[in-house]
């Protein structure tokens, strides 16, 4: 565009008081007017709003602008907005540049004068840079409409069903032998007290039966390559040693196992119940297919088992001790990550005695005790079979605690109240809830709390200091004593009980780092996956085509999880519906006249996108493979490699701009 006069418009956003409260906007606008190539400079309260955009569009047309600088928020927030506005006005969208004077200036700078000075330097840089911009075309790439969903808890199940109902083919990958996640372990859900299984298990069955869903249980995603619309995924299918197609879930093999009694702790029952080496995690499991644990199975350990399971299976011949791990490759257009959470390990708080005192349970263990399909058939009893006469429920275990997690796990107050209700209903025991603050912000939550207040609970406001079996009085003999300061009464209380339930918080999955790296997404400081923007793009990630749903993004309850799963699915469908996608044009390219064919760039490219054209002896960069990192550009000794939108002269002029004041 060198033959044409550069006509730049600079638009400074006040962002209400967000920018204008700190940066002297009129001063900045006046300053911008004096910069080289600037034809017009204006301010507006909300530049991203429709009148703001219209102002820019009007100027583009009437003043024949050929460059636009918007000084406002982060380009991650509104670059797309302003590029679209320019495009609608007939301007190439890549002739727009955003200068971040909110996140980088007004929100972080105390002194107004200093903030204005910094904003001026950034605007000067933006103006200098944009003058070097050239019109660019977006790349169009075909997009697959198949989807991958990682995690088969309620989030993944909901997402899979929604996408499948929309006609998309979905592969749902779950690492456990059955889908269902944490929700499958619950007895009832707050605040409605409806049975968790009645909501979840029909959905699980639908997943199994849906013609558009391929379910890979007992499997893990091990590699994700490619890019938005065209991901290449590898799924490792662990051997179950039972043929999924042949097994009918009759339980015969389990009954006939040489182990007459179940003697190995059941993972699903969190060790409160036992299983055999061949097992189905729970009767409502999906798929309803047995799995053999090679660690405990005698055939695997000695090779000399009578294999009564094989005999029991008979003609179906589903048991296959020779099964091997396989890796399945998939091509998908979008990925929804629904990997959920793990509960806080209460044994980290040694003063609560979890793992040492048998009467101390975590809330998930309690769920199994209360569940009608659980190890006790829903009877709330202690490990020795006694019915508790008094139960303490300790809120905020591992949450809102600077030694563990500072955040609120959001669901614990409500599930603690639910636990209190279940204990009351099933055992009639005295119930003591020890809480810091009662947090009930949700539809029907406060009403549930009010309802529980009528059930004669003892609500003690105070953080529990200790749970001990050391008694100080006859009354405490043989009991667990919960010691806490009652902050409403201002006294230290010692409450003797038979059972303690620790309301453990929600934590990110322990393997989040591997998952994050595999998917090229980020975690927030607590380790939950980071959304692109909490309000504008709450289920998107910085990696296009990868969406997040459920508690992998942060603690949340079932209704929110289901809503988020629906949102993520809708986003994924929207992305992949057109049959093609447009990608950023910020790719590297070679100016053949300058290339000496030295090949320095070739091994540097992480995507093998560069090859040598042997006829011309110059490097050639594939538009399809290049992802636009610019590593080759920085390495090229002759300046033949360049990157669109990050050209050397653009960066050099930007540099001069930021250093101009």
């Amino acid at each position: 565009m060198t033959d044409e006069e550069t006509r730049i418009g600079v638009y400074v956003c006040e962002c209400g008081f967000n920018i204008a409260g700190v940066v002297n906007v009129p001063d900045l606008v006046g300053y911008a007017k004096g910069l080289k190539g600037v034809v017009v400079s204006r301010e507006y309260k909300y530049m991203c709003s429709s009148p703001g955009q219209a102002t820019i569009q009007k100027d583009v047309q009437e003043l024949k602008l050929n460059r636009v600088v918007v000084a406002s928020c982060s380009p991650h927030l509104h670059e797309a907005t302003f590029r679209r506005a320019a495009e609608e006005a007939g301007m190439n969208p890549f002739l727009v540049h955003m200068v971040n004077i909110r996140e980088q200036v007004s929100w972080v700078t105390k002194d107004k004068k200093e903030a204005t000075e910094k904003a001026k330097s950034l605007v000067a840089a933006g103006v200098a840079r944009v003058a070097r911009h050239s019109p660019l075309e977006r790349r169009k790439v075909p997009v697959r409409d198949d989807m991958l969903i990682i995690g088969g808890g309620i989030a993944g199940i909901q997402a899979a069903l929604t996408a499948a109902d929309a006609g998309r083919h979905v592969t749902l990958v779950e690492r456990e032998p059955s889908i269902g996640g944490h929700m499958a372990k619950f007895d009832k859900t707050f605040p409605t007290l409806d049975c968790a299984a009645c909501i979840l298990t029909p959905k699980m069955t639908s997943v199994k039966n849906h013609p558009n869903i391929t379910l890979f249980s007992y499997s893990e995603v091990v590699a994700v390559d490619g890019y938005v619309g065209n991901f290449k995924v590898k799924v490792r299918r662990k051997p179950r040693y039972v043929d999924e197609a042949a097994c009918v879930g009759c339980f015969e093999c389990i009954e006939q196992c040489v182990y007459k009694t179940a003697k190995f702790p059941s993972e699903f029952e969190l060790g409160l119940g036992m299983r055999k080496p061949i097992y189905i995690p729970f009767p409502q499991a999906v798929p309803l297919v047995a799995v053999i644990d090679s660690e405990t199975c005698i055939e695997f350990k000695t090779g000399h088992c009578k294999k009564t399971c094989v005999v029991a299976c008979g003609d179906r011949n589903a048991i296959d001790f020779t099964q091997q791990e396989t890796v399945v490759e998939l091509d998908v257009g979008a990925i929804i990550v629904a990997t959920g959470f793990k509960i806080f390990d209460a044994s980290r708080m040694t003063n609560y005695g979890y793992g040492k005192l048998p009467g101390v349970y975590n809330a998930l263990e309690f769920e199994r005790l209360a569940a009608s399909n659980g190890p006790t058939g829903g009877e709330i009893v202690l490990r020795d079979g006694r019915k508790p006469a008094a139960v303490a429920i300790v809120h905020c275990v591992g949450s809102r605690d600077e030694h563990y997690n500072t955040y609120c796990s959001k669901v614990c107050c409500m599930y603690s109240l639910k636990i209190a209700h279940l204990v009351k209903e099933r055992t009639g025991a005295e119930v003591y809830n020890f809480y810091i603050d009662m947090r009930t912000p949700g539809k029907g939550f406060e009403e549930f709390y009010t309802r529980l207040l009528a059930e004669n609970l003892h609500l003690v406001r105070g953080k529990v200091a200790q749970i001990t079996e050391i008694s100080e009085s006859a009354q405490e003999e043989g009991k667990l004593v919960v010691v806490a300061e009652d902050t409403l009464l201002g006294v230290v209380r010692r409450v003797p009980v038979d059972m303690v339930v620790l309301s453990v918080g929600l934590e990110p999955q322990p393997d989040r780092e591997e998952v994050r790296r595999m998917l090229n997404i980020s975690c927030s400081s607590e380790g939950f996956f980071l959304e692109k923007h909490p309000k504008l793009a709450p289920v998107s990630t910085m990696s296009d085509g990868i969406f997040i749903a459920g508690a992998c993004q942060g603690p949340r309850d079932i209704p929110e999880t289901v809503a988020q799963a629906g949102a993520a699915t809708a986003e994924a469908i929207a992305l992949t519906s057109k049959g093609f996608l447009t990608l950023e044009p910020n790719l590297a390219y070679i100016e053949e006249q300058l290339c000496s064919g030295c090949q320095v760039c070739i091994p540097l490219c992480p995507y093998n996108a560069i090859e040598l054209d042997r006829d011309k002896m110059v490097a050639r960069i594939s538009d399809v493979l290049c992802k636009g990192c610019g590593v080759c550009v920085a390495a090229c000794p002759s300046g033949a490699a360049s990157q669109r939108l990050f050209e050397d002269d653009q960066i050099m002029d930007e540099l001069a701009g930021v250093l101009s004041r």
Binding site: S74, P75, H76, N100, R102, E103, Q104, V105, W107, V108, T109, K110, D111, E114, A115, E117, K118, S121, L122, A125, R517, N520, S522, C523, S524, S525, L530, M542, S543, N586, L604, P606, Y607, K627, G628, C629, G630, V631, V633, A634, A635, Q643, F646, D648, I651, M652, E654, L655, A656, V658, L659
Partner: protein, 142 residues
């Protein structure tokens, strides 16, 4: 307050990658983390795009310090761009030392998207160190 006005205000350029440190800076903004206005950011898609010449040019154009920021090792959005940055940084460090630059004028930091507080801390620390060094002599001298 007068003392602050008279205090040397270094100019520092930070090259930050789009995926980690730029987001950390955005997050610092959202958290209203206050830091000194001396550091100005230039965004590249990857820290591996930062040509060593940009660093030299920054000093030549008046910067008193240059901060290079990228994703942590193993976390690069483009697999390995940050390792290239590390090598170029090492080279630059040696070169600049030979040219008589104090070590604190060039700094490399890995700052992930979640590390807004680290971003603030690095900016503050770098500003203070460069402030102590005073203006770059090659700029002020002739």
């Amino acid at each position: 307050m007068m003392m602050q006005v008279d205090e040397f205000q270094p100019r520092i350029v930070a090259f930050v990658c789009n995926w980690c440190t730029y987001i950390a800076a955005d997050t610092a903004g959202v958290a209203r983390a206050r830091y000194s206005p001396n550091v100005r950011l230039i965004r590249t898609m990857c820290s591996g795009r930062v040509d060593p010449q940009f660093v030299l040019a920054a000093f030549e154009k008046g910067a008193d310090g240059v901060l290079l920021c990228g994703c942590h090792p193993r976390d690069c959005h483009y697999n390995s761009g940050n390792y290239k940055t590390l090598r170029r940084y090492t080279l630059l460090k040696t070169m600049l030392a030979q040219m008589g630059f104090e070590g604190d004028r060039l700094r490399l930091e890995w700052i992930s998207a979640s590390e807004a507080e680290k971003f603030r801390r690095v900016v503050e620390d770098m500003t203070e160190r460069v402030r102590k060094l005073g203006p770059l002599k090659s700029n002020g001298g002739n």
